[in-house]
Assembly symmetry: C2
Homo-oligomer: 249 residues x 2
């Protein structure tokens, strides 16, 4: 008798909450999120092949939702699909990373200008605390502590810009970039102090409401990051890239 379900008391147990989740989200969405999490966290490493049946088995769903999730992840740039061969966690080449950094610089420049105009006290406070923790990680030269702080810093700043479309595009770009940076940044402990200084200056510019300065600092911060990355990879000189240009007038 299905009627019984309606008479159940509102005692939430694991089964009920699972059903509640499914009422709002499709399996495809859940699979997509889980895979995204695994990719972004590095659990699935770049270049790894994603086997439909295997993933479906692990997540206890059929291949349909998995395939749909693959399509979404492909479009968002986290995986690449080869017909009849499968999908693979995207590997971002140095050249691609270089291009993506330019895009990110432009978006971050905009974020800086908007954040300087619109940031709210609570958000500013969060930024200041993150920077404080960054200083600690910086003194300890601890990349594993610094990396998530860096992510959080730019996340908060992105929210402070108060432009949802901008945030969505920014997050996508940063995700792609993180595919590239993870392994590298852990080897670049020496760049942490410089990066921390950048962040501090950015917070000050935003706090002052100096839109032009905040925009330029963020733009340069990203370009600096790109060059640091490049230097770590090839001890060779960085391709000519002028950090000083402002994002957009």
């Amino acid at each position: 008798m299905p009627r019984a379900k309606l008479l159940l008391p509102a005692l939430p147990n694991a089964h009920d909450t699972a059903i509640a989740v499914l009422r709002e989200h499709s399996l495809t969405t859940l699979v997509q999120r889980e895979l995204e999490r695994q990719i972004v966290s590095g659990e699935l490493e770049a270049g790894a092949k994603l086997n439909e049946a295997e993933i479906a088995g692990e997540l206890r769903v059929s291949r349909g939702p998995v395939r749909e999730a693959f399509r979404a992840l492909d479009q968002s740039g986290l995986v690449r699909t080869e017909k009849n061969r499968g999908v693979f966690v995207r590997q971002v080449s140095l050249e691609e990373a270089y291009e993506i950094y330019e895009v990110r610089a432009a978006l971050d420049g905009l974020i800086g200008r908007l954040a300087a105009k619109r940031i709210q006290p609570a958000q500013l406070q969060r930024l200041r605390e993150i920077v404080k923790r960054m200083h600690a990680a910086s003194r300890a030269l601890d990349p594993d502590a610094y990396f998530p702080l860096n992510i959080e810093f730019h996340e908060v700043l992105g929210e402070a810009a108060g432009n949802h479309a901008l945030l969505v595009n920014y997050q996508r770009i940063v995700n792609e970039l993180n595919l590239y940076r993870r392994e590298v940044i852990s080897r670049s402990a020496e760049s942490i102090p410089a990066s921390t200084k950048d962040h501090e200056a950015i917070v000050n510019a935003v706090a002052k409401g100096d839109e032009a300065l905040a925009g330029r600092l963020l733009f340069e911060h990203v370009i600096n990051g790109r060059e640091r990355l490049h230097r770590v990879l090839h001890e060779a000189p960085v391709p000519r890239a002028r950090a000083g240009r402002k994002a957009a007038t």
Copy 2:
């Protein structure tokens, strides 16, 4: 006897070419492209509901590839999905459009700077011809001729920037924006001359290789476009019962 297929001579007919296409592209990809075309062209108007079975029937495929295509289109911002209700061609509100314009301005600013640095003679020639045709459409005050020229202009410029990641993100943004602009721009014939002048100045700046100027002009061009749009919308909404002001939620 399926063996016969292997013995067929290499005379291309409709059937063979269809098979050749499928060797390279999955049905999902083809469905995705077709729907994207229909949405961008306006064949499917904003807010329209996309029925899985219906589309599958029209395109002679099963629902699987259609659903996968939906996922990709959702991620690229062309449709919105409501669980158990279906997918709809995305409607971009005025507020969203306003936000997206800001993002586009930042990306276009970057395009301007990069294009000024890297554009090739053939591309510059294409831009000049487009502007010439724009002048013609401008004198005739013909929005239907002007609209595609405008799209093409920015497409060429985007290619000239020589940054693939930038181009991909830019196209996505422009697609979203076009969801909003189509109906509006046709009513704003009076802004065509100003827009044409913008384009001409941009070409000149790019031709001179003046990165800062090209970047600034493009940024301002987009913002101007946003303001023109805003003005058209807020002047016109008169009680006069002229058809259709539904989009602006």
